[in-house]
Symmetry: C3
Subunit: 488 residues, 3 copies
């Protein structure tokens, strides 16, 4: 082991994964995610405009997305949907006509959402419009000005210092027009209407970790989830940060309560962390499941209490909604030097890190899908496991194997008050071991669901990647009928 967190290669996921996680997995899953992240990396996104649309088209090749367009001027709670941004080109030319700054080389060079400009001016007049990072003088910063009209450039501090005095031609061929804010979403329906929300922001331009990594990971996850049966419905949301999440909440306020679990994903591809930031509720199932997976599968995970800045979890956790939505990251945003700079590029994220993040999310989904209350049918004393072939017949050993301990924990605490995750936490055993013990005990009648109806809720997994019919009619526990439109 090394204390240099994340620098010496990926630490292995030790969690014993079950059927669902296996069905979602694939040997090259990290490469798949990386490739999709690389596909969308060059696109110049902003909170509105064609960059978002092009990104959603790329993601739709994997996961069938509904594209939503919210018109400019629409009120969404305290906010108003802004105009669309159009950007075609931008440069600063020396008096010799050489592009000393060129949008075509990096879309970070333009202040995101900048107003247009075309003028000649001396360097001194230009400088107040150029953002640099004096402490990281070789990197281009990522800067925005969404809500105040302003034009500007971003460049490496050393390149700015190298500019000779003189007259420069500055040009930002951009504009704002009435149009729409665009976001994409997909609802993969499960056995019940309650939802698991998975959300990633789609507004950042060429920043690989923040958030091509999150977008690609969720699109690949959605693609694979859509092929298996689940208990919960899964909602994937790819929306511009802040304004996009607020627009979604405003348009879905009546149904947001169906969200019973949720994760915001960003910065999922570097080798740091991982970090989980709890939902505002702090003890929601998603918080407990994520803590469980992180503690059992990672060396030094950071689990943080909710705080009201960050990504869109802060919108989902607004006091009026207070949804159980946490944030998963590898390195915490703002904490790594590449954050919001041109160094957050495709070299900074790696397939193995993306795969580890992906598997962590899958392990959490597996817990959320499988956590359940069971009842011991022989609660008066320890049942005789030996006569059922569940126990060694030779006694006197010094230690009890984990397999047996897991059964004893499940039996003793399946008293109507403790779910399997409760028991896993109390036993300090991986959820998968407790789940497996519960299945063995259920098979021989020592464990039953609290009442007959409950068993209808138990998930059935399609093994080996069979495609489930997307047009089937599913009946939820509450008798509500949901028609699934065919797709992908």
């Amino acid at each position: 082991m090394t204390s240099e967190n994340g620098l010496l290669g990926e630490r292995p996921l030790r969690l014993e994964r079950g059927e669902l996680a296996q069905a979602l997995d694939a040997p090259a899953i990290g490469e798949d995610i990386f490739q999709l992240a690389a596909d969308i990396y060059p696109i110049c996104r902003s909170i509105t405009g064609d960059g978002v649309r092009e990104t959603l088209r790329c993601l739709s090749r994997h996961l069938d997305l509904q594209i939503r367009e919210v018109p400019t001027g629409t009120g969404v709670f305290d906010w108003t949907i802004p105009r669309e941004w159009v950007i075609r080109d931008a440069f600063i030319k020396s008096d010799k006509g050489v592009r000393v700054l060129d949008f075509r080389q990096s879309n970070l060079h333009v202040l995101n959402y900048s107003t247009p400009i075309h003028a000649k001016m001396p360097l001194d007049a230009l400088k107040p419009h150029i953002f640099t990072l004096p402490d990281q003088p070789d990197l281009i910063p990522y800067k925005t000005s969404y809500y105040q009209d302003r034009w500007g450039f971003c460049m490496a501090h050393n390149e700015l210092l190298a500019l000779p005095d003189g007259i420069y031609e500055v040009m930002i061929d951009a504009g704002h027009k009435d149009g729409h804010l665009t976001y994409g979403e997909a609802l993969i329906e499960g056995a019940c209407r309650d939802e698991f929300l998975l959300s990633a922001h789609v507004c950042h331009p060429s920043l690989a970790n923040d958030n091509c990594s999150g977008l690609a990971l969720l699109a690949i996850l959605g693609a694979r989830l859509s092929r298996i049966k689940t208990k919960f419905s899964y909602r994937f949301l790819f929306a511009p940060g802040t304004i996009g999440a607020i627009a979604w909440l405003a348009q879905n306020a009546d149904n947001a309560g169906f969200i019973k679990h949720g994760l915001v994903l960003s910065c999922a591809g570097d080798g740091g962390g991982p970090v989980y930031k709890r939902s505002r509720r702090g003890t929601a199932l998603i918080d407990r499941a994520m803590s469980h997976v992180l503690r059992h599968s990672w060396e030094n995970p950071a689990i943080l209490d909710f705080f009201p800045c960050g990504y869109d979890e802060r919108q989902f956790c607004s006091p009026a909604f207070n949804l159980p939505v946490g944030l998963f990251q590898r390195s915490l945003y703002g904490s790594f030097p590449e954050y919001h700079t041109s160094a957050d590029n495709l070299d900074f994220i790696r397939p193995e890190h993306l795969a580890a993040s992906y598997r962590t999310i899958c392990a959490v989904i597996e817990i959320v899908e499988n956590d359940r209350l069971m009842l011991n049918t022989k609660p008066e004393a320890e049942p005789q496991l030996g006569k059922r072939g569940l126990y060694d017949s030779i006694g006197g050993s010094k230690a009890v194997p984990q397999k047996n301990m897991a059964m004893l924990w499940v039996l003793n605490f399946s008293d109507g008050h403790n779910s399997l995750l409760d028991i896993a936490e109390r036993a300090n055993l991986p959820f998968a071991a407790i789940d497996e013990a519960a299945r063995r005990l259920t098979a021989c009648g020592l464990l039953v669901p609290p009442c007959a109806e409950s068993s209808q809720d138990s998930p059935e997994f399609a093994k080996g990647g069979q495609d489930r019919s997307r047009s089937e009619i599913m009946e939820t526990g509450s008798g509500q009928v949901m028609a699934k439109a065919g797709s992908s």
Copy 2:
């Protein structure tokens, strides 16, 4: 102080003990317990059979036991009472007729509950029936096969290695027959019907710490408890592990709820620990009293949360009963190299360790007997202790003596919500100091029981070992009359 836990001799009990603990004590108590443990050490016990009966007869010389016989085939919850085991002799003889393994030298040599065998066979055919400990090659392991028909021997690994190839005569002169499972119990009635259960398993053959130590300690404790008046009734149970406790629960299911406190004792004679494993409830009075005594009297006690393997506390803590029964040990079972080997012999336990364990249990009994809610009769301000001779009349000292602090704690927190143990914990003072302060304050009227009736429940101790009449008629708080038969 030394960090070598338990290796450099017994650490002294620092607890200030009160009247009850003194009445239960004796200078040679450790030697008395050791002698009884030594008496029962040679007996070949199993979960059934005459070994258990002979052991109970030895214990009955100290504590008058009711012997219970449960017929083979009786259903006890999920289990069935097995047949009785009879063992007369066992050996492995070389082709020269020499006993290379001899049951008469150690009853551990036979797989406990083994089926009979008498045959000649080559070493290779014999070896699968011989259990050894390759990591502890000079020790004989203790192995059992209660619930699957199997014959076998146990021996030192080095002795097995030394056996030359050849034909051996193997003989286990044993058998199984319909009969009974045997256990012994004694109920020492106190002022109320609520019970304190003290239990030790009686099924292990010649293993001194596990559990001749526990059996002997409890028999001696019971003998002394039966001579004094107590508030609670004390039930002593000596039953075979698992099946015996389950049989007891099955036969006493309706009255098990009278058990308000309980301890399982094993491995009480070595120099390690001590260890207390909490009841499944976790915060029962027995858990709090044991924690209090261990923290105030021992250097480095281990206090563990409940887990569902171990000794018979796991049966008493089955979810349907969930009795407040914990486990007291010196070294935690399975954690010391002598565990379940021939090294757990009479050299491994010592009178001073047994005495320290005994006194710890007595201190816990003292708390359970004396914990009570009292009320400050002058709650408006600190009463004037000086005028009652409870306080020094010279003021200005830098520190307040513990005796005075204890009185101030009792006065301030005897508000109807805090028992004396609650106060001792809050004050971080030994229970005995708080109890003593409460007695002084009660004597001068500053403290009273919550209501008049309660005072009838207060224990009266027979000092100096007077014998209480065992045939007296006692009336419990609920008006129920219990006739005590004379005994011992």
Copy 3:
């Protein structure tokens, strides 16, 4: 920073103080307090008598005090008001007529409340009446004998050792007479009748830290508080230790419930600590406010749970009253070598320490006055702070400024369940930062009080030290009218 707690000069108060604390402050506040402490230092106080009266007269020059006289023999709960002590002179004279001990040099030389004596006796007969500190042989101890008739002297151990054998004239020109116990109090009325009690004991003779420091600090604080408008009423109490507080409680039992916050102050002028001892309730607002200020303003504060010895907080925290009154000190009583000796003199306390203690109390008052529940008027999502000029318009920075974080915390947690102090604790930000954010958000309508009436309770601060009319008629929330008599 240094680990030598308090030895290398005062550590600065880092708390961002608000309007109220500023109004109470003054550049030379430490010097003002020190001067008053020095004024009262020479007076020979006891639990009764003219020393108390003279001290209260000095304090009244700053804070208009009501002087209460409780007759000797009056019953106050379990106690009886003792006789007044009169002391005129005391000495021990050698056979040459030289005063080898002289009350005129230190009033500590007489056992406080001593009976009179005038006799000649050999040294051996005298010694049992002389108290010394063998471990601090150059210091005179402070000793008392209030509740048992006894005469005695206190002197430096080395001076006692130096006394030659011989006949000494001993004289204590003192006496006890029926009279009164005297205490002083002042009620500074605020907008509501609920009270903040500030109490210091007035019975110790020439001990500077214990408690000339506390008396002087509170008198100066009261003087300044009486010039501004507050929400709570402030009650200042200067009473003899134990018997004085008990007398006050006995005489004010019906109205003690108006005390909603309280502090006992002693040893407020040395360079140690600070120490806060929680009220018996443990989580009262005063406990949380004091903890907050100490953790945010001091390096290594000690925050102790309540224990039932100490100063008069133990009377106010008697179980029948259980008032939310804590104890503030610099060095914990009994823990510093100068405690209750002649070394607790004017060299031991310093203006800068007194000022720091004073400002700490003011910061606590500011929290108690300003803690309130507010409601976010836009709870569905984060409001758009930028359009209100509350937020930078340039995005993409790595860190969020504390000013902005404070606003986000207030918005997200002003949900009807969290007061501003709750939010400050959760955010780990100084209360003043949270309060300032709340004021900014209230100003632009994003935050409102829970209901219209509540706003009548909000404090209005008189800025810049304007004097409020002391004869105004104030109407409390409950409609009760309190007439304020003009004063000071």
